[in-house]
């Protein structure tokens, strides 16, 4: 690092003037993704003459991992050229090799990985030929990386300050003091309040969003030319994700940093990148300009993916999902010919099932790895999707009134007095027969706690959950009779946890059938078969242990188990959040079919707004244990909004280039449930906060008819004025005017 004089990164805060007033919030930086990349300004940006090589060239890259079972090819024939300041997205489902590519760019393959073919050239130099010392020099200074799990990526035994300062100290030989100044500067650039406190903190003392900002700061310290982002926001809540994405794109714009953005989320890629590579099972199946790919996808897999993503503007009755059948092949069990063959509707044995498929140019920079890319007539192709009738909603089945659940935390000191976490407060709603009621909210809002009380796994602290003539809140599961137990069942979140790994699938289903009183004796075996049919799994699977099943298949078994008896109410706690999109759609479809055919009421708990929008009849939006807004789905997703719902909606990345939306970036972090704001729970982050009244008083319920209620101090007329968050446009979206937002937000309590 001794070329010229490295210039310190100038402050990013464009409004605040050098971060002089750290307490003043800078206005949200507009996401200028649609404006052309700024011409690199002088200094560190690297204004290259036209004849210099591109920043990064990846040619025919092959990467394999070597395990006991033999070689596992993780990435095959990967090509990419990236110029300074460009941003390219890598999308694909888990295991398709996205992370492997990004680590290969760092030339870091771990203990058992190796590049088995091809080249990675950085600024024209083959990285394989660099010495260890040269590589070290490059890493962290020219190429930097941001990781999926910020907590794991930070050293638990070192302060943030020490971890930050060592980067410039080793790359630029500057003094510790100077490094500290620079670190503090960059911390305020990523909008972390009080850099001094952050520098002195250990990772476990920060929230997930703060940790990720530190990791970003660490990557930016030496002003890299290339930034690799490996699912930087997957572990975070949507509102935090939106803030982070905003920071990343504004920074890359400012300095002309090139980015490789790895994600499984199409919406995020659309928001952040100019070009995209869609990966499937180790190969790029389609690549090109983002707009082109979204408008005119050529590869059946890409098409399929779009069909699997619930859309913010449609629901299950108007536009059902069209899942891709089957599942991802294991890296060791790829089929001959086209890897997507077994799942593709256009598969032809002779053309697709023999030789490896080559990637072809489909016009412009648009590449597709499909022999039939030019032949398929997408207009005619109608994937099989069950058209659903709108269900006739029946009588009230469950009536929840003022439900409360407090947890007592053992106090740390001797005389500290036990602390109370108010996980759920004053939750009231009704669920009718055949209805799907969804509870949405970010982590820690009390969704799962409510499910536990409902299932009788925890005792409620107050309030009632009336079903029939029983109060479920006062009836722990041990005290419920068989009929009640069978009537209220649950589908769990984590596919790897939902089944007992020690017993075969058949045994577990049979046990449920017996315990729920659905059948006995000989009859059980037949019922097991019927349930497997119901969830569309081969009957032979009953002899398998859960470890032999894929995630989606395990979830299906979980669903079969819940419907083994006569379930009248099924609680589904994030049943698909751990699954890949293509599998997710199929499982959701199945769940909806069974729910409809069994006339079951479903309580669907999720953090995914688009999913909820797709399937729910009624929605309850929660924040920090309290209801913010509730009502029919169509009402919740249209003005008037609760300010929190509005922010949530605007934070959701939408995988549809035609949708244009408001940008509302929330400042600050989710308050700790131990110490929630006394008035409106959302007051510490609310962009529309009125003032003192929000801090002090619980907001009143504003009724908008048809059960649509908003809990907010803003008066109803004012609420009705806000424009819809989503708008459909046909023409390429233009920079939406920034809504005027109050500037005097409070310093978030962290």
């Amino acid at each position: 690092m001794n070329e010229n004089n490295q210039i310190n990164p100038p402050p990013i805060s464009d409004g605040g003037g050098g971060g002089g007033e750290p307490t003043n919030n800078t206005p949200p930086i507009s996401n200028g993704k649609n404006t052309p990349p700024p011409s690199p300004m002088g200094g560190a940006g690297g204004g290259q003459p036209a004849n210099t090589p591109p920043l990064l060239e990846i040619e025919n890259l092959n990467v394999s991992y070597f395990t006991r079972k033999g070689e596992v090819p993780a990435v095959l024939d990967f090509n990419l050229t990236l110029n300074a300041g460009e941003s390219v997205g890598l999308v694909g489902e888990s295991g398709c090799g996205k992370s492997t590519v990004s680590f290969a760019v760092m030339n870091y393959m771990g203990a058992n990985g190796a590049i088995t073919g091809g080249r990675v050239k950085f600024m024209g130099r083959d990285m394989a030929e660099m010495s260890a010392e040269e590589l070290r020099d490059l890493r962290g200074s020219k190429i930097a990386m941001i990781y999926q799990e910020p907590f794991a990526a930070l050293n638990p035994c070192m302060t943030m300050g020490a971890q930050l300062t060592e980067v410039p100290m080793f790359h630029e030989n500057i003094s510790e003091k100077e490094a500290q100044e620079r670190a503090a500067q960059i911390l305020s650039d990523v909008r972390l309040p009080d850099p001094a406190r952050i520098m002195a903190a250990y990772p476990h003392q920060l929230s997930g969003g703060q940790q990720q900002r530190v990791v970003i700061a660490m990557a930016l310290l030496s002003n890299p030319k290339l930034l690799l982002l490996d699912e930087p926001t997957t572990a975070l809540d949507v509102t935090v994700e939106a803030a982070i994405v905003n920071i990343v794109s504004s920074i890359s714009q400012k300095y002309g940093t090139a980015m490789i953005y790895v994600s499984h989320n199409m919406g995020l890629i659309l928001k952040t990148c100019e070009r995209v590579c869609v990966m499937y099972s180790g190969q790029v199946v389609e690549s090109g300009e983002v707009g082109e790919i979204f408008q005119n996808p050529r590869h059946p897999y890409t098409r399929g993916l779009f069909g699997c993503i619930p859309n913010m503007t449609a629901d299950k009755n108007s536009r059902p999902l069209s899942p891709i059948r089957g599942q991802l092949p294991l890296a060791t069990e790829r089929p001959r010919g086209c890897y997507f063959g077994p799942r593709c509707d256009f598969f032809e044995k002779e053309r697709c099932g023999e030789d490896l498929i080559k990637i072809e140019n489909a016009g412009g920079g648009h590449m597709a790895r499909c022999v039939k890319w030019s032949e398929i007539d997408w207009a005619k192709h109608k994937p099989e999707t069950a058209q659903r009738e709108r269900a006739v909603i029946g009588e009230t089945l469950v009536n929840v009134r003022d439900m409360k659940k407090y947890y007592e935390l053992p106090s740390a000191g001797f005389f500290g007095g036990a602390k109370k976490v108010k996980a759920v407060q004053d939750l009231s709603f009704q669920a009718r027969q055949k209805q799907i009621v969804a509870i949405v909210g970010e982590s820690g809002c009390g969704k799962s706690t409510f499910a536990k009380v409902l299932m009788g796994l925890e005792d409620g602290t107050g309030g009632k959950i009336v079903m029939g003539d029983e109060d479920l809140a006062a009836l722990p599961v041990e005290k419920r009779d068989e009929e009640m137990i069978a009537a209220v069942q649950m589908v769990f979140q984590n596919p790897n946890d939902t089944l007992n790994p020690s017993h075969t699938v058949g045994k577990q289903i049979a046990r449920s059938i017996r315990k729920l009183g659905a059948a006995s004796g000989e009859e059980v075996e037949r019922k097991v078969d019927r349930l497997l049919d119901l969830v569309k799994l081969p009957r032979s699977y009953k002899h398998n242990k859960p470890s032999q099943l894929s995630g989606g298949q395990k979830q299906r078994i979980g669903i079969a188990r819940a419907f083994a008896g006569k379930a009248r109410l099924v609680v589904a706690d994030e049943p698909v959040s751990a699954l890949d999109v293509s599998v997710q759609a199929a499982v959701i479809d199945l769940l909806l079919d069974i729910q409809a055919s069994h006339d079951t009421t479903m309580l669907f708990i999720s953090h995914d707004l688009s999913l909820v929008r797709y399937l729910a009849d009624n929605i309850i939006v929660m924040y920090l244990g309290r209801i913010m807004e509730q009502g029919l789905t169509k009402d919740v997703f249209a003005p008037p909004y609760h300010p929190y719902t509005e922010s949530l909606l605007s934070a959701v990345p939408v995988a549809d280039h035609r949708v244009e939306k408001e940008e509302i970036i929330l400042e600050g972090e989710l308050p700790s449930p131990l110490n929630p704001p006394p008035g409106c729970p959302f007051s510490s982050r609310c962009p529309r906060k009125l003032g003192e009244i929000c801090d002090k008083e619980l907001p009143p319920k504003r009724d908008f008819g048809e059960g649509h209620a908003i809990y907010c101090h803003i008066n109803p007329a004012e609420l009705k004025k806000s424009p819809p968050v989503f708008r459909m446009t046909k023409q390429p979206p233009q920079q939406p005017p920034q809504p005027s937002q109050p500037q005097q937000q409070p310093q978030p309590a962290v």
Binding site: R136, R139, G140, A144, A153, C157, Y202, H204, Q205, M218
Partner: protein, 365 residues
């Protein structure tokens, strides 16, 4: 910690002192008569005692008809009268001067014992004040023999600890640094072999090699002619080999775990030099577990010390305990056990402190 110390001493008490008759038998030998034992117990405060000539005794006997007092020269023992209401013997008869009939009556009576809890309090109080009682085998007060022996053991165990720590941490870190490499395999094989050879076996094998075959070292470590480092070599080696293997395995696992962790990857990809990655990022995290394990290894080493000292006839705490057990020397055993309790509790305390110090997650909740 205090609670722990109390409970541990309670366990020692339960095992050794719950049955006073047993203690008396050990003190006086297998062939002592019941009377001798009773007298011994009275003398050592196991029964409710009253000073000789106390009028209290006679009165009680007359009043309630339930108690009988028997006095030696200095003490009186309280007996509970037998249920059938046997004729009570004369009061305040000296033990030696009792008639056979009187003895017969006495024998049927049940000594009125002090219940276990007050006895435990008294017993503990004695130890805390440094009064360990007499040693019957060495014919001196226990304290007189215990302290020099402890000092010797401190030398032995301290030396062993020193080498064990250096060896095990070094091997463990080197092996864990590059998991699956040649050095890892070699060190791991070495570690698993040494953990499989208990101290007494390695002592025997060391003697066979270095004393019998090579004739390099003395076969015992009695230190009769004064302290000699040479005599310390083999006991220390035997101790170090066994525990170093164990700690090295733990260090290796911990180090390998850390090296696989994402934050090491972060450090490497930050482009800081490899040496600094190891020293600054890996070691600190990797040593948290082994350091606490090492301290908790001390009690284990005490076990080893018993074996090794008795094998090499080293005059330390371990061989003392062993001899005390062999010769059923009750107060000596108790003293040794309680010393062990103190050592254990102290190391636990230190381990806790060091753990808190090393692990910021505990330090800054």
């Amino acid at each position: 910690m205090l609670l722990m110390m109390l409970t541990m001493s309670g366990i020692v008490f339960l095992i050794l002192e719950l049955d006073p008759e047993g203690v008396a038998r050990k003190a006086l030998g297998q062939f002592s008569t019941p009377e001798q034992r009773v007298a011994w117990l009275a003398e050592n405060g196991y029964f409710v005692t009253a000073p000789a000539g106390a009028s209290l005794g006679a009165k009680k006997h007359e009043d309630a008809g339930r108690f009988v007092y028997r006095a030696t020269e200095t003490k009186a023992v309280v007996y509970r009268a037998p249920p059938e209401g046997v004729q009570a013997p004369p009061q305040r008869t000296a033990l030696t001067r009792m008639t056979p009939e009187q003895l017969e009556v006495l024998r049927k009576m049940e000594p009125l014992r002090i219940s276990a809890i007050p006895r435990y309090v008294k017993w503990l109080g004695k130890f805390v004040s440094g009064d360990f009682g007499p040693s019957y085998r060495f014919k001196v007060p226990v304290a007189e023999i215990l302290w020099p022996r402890l000092k010797n053991t401190a030398i032995l165990a301290g030396t062993a600890m020193f080498f064990m720590i250096i060896l095990s941490l070094f091997l463990g870190v080197m092996a864990g640094m590059r998991e699956g490499s040649l050095q890892d395999r070699v060190f791991s094989v070495f570690a698993i072999i040494t953990t499989s050879v208990p101290e007494f076996a390695s002592a025997v094998l060391l003697v066979a090699v270095f004393v019998f075959w090579l004739e390099w070292l003395p076969g015992t470590s009695t230190m009769i002619g004064g302290f000699e480092w040479k005599q310390l070599v083999m006991p220390v080696t035997a101790l170090v080999l066994y525990s170093a293997g164990y700690v090295a395995r733990i260090t290796r696992a911990s180090m390998a775990d850390v090296m696989r962790s994402p934050f090491i990857r972060t450090a490497v990809l930050k482009g800081i030099p490899y040496g600094r990655v190891i020293v600054r990022h890996a070691l600190r995290n990797a040593l948290i577990t082994p350091v606490t394990v090492i301290l908790l290894q001390l009690p284990w080493m005490l076990s080893g010390v018993i074996v090794v000292e008795s094998f090499f006839a080293y005059k330390g705490f371990g061989s003392l305990l062993w001899e005390a057990t062999k010769f059923d020397d009750p107060f000596l055993i108790e003293a040794c056990a309680l010393v062990a309790v103190v050592v254990v509790v102290a190391t636990q305390l230190i381990a806790d402190i060091i753990y808190t110090f090393l692990n910021p997650r505990i330090r800054f909740q």
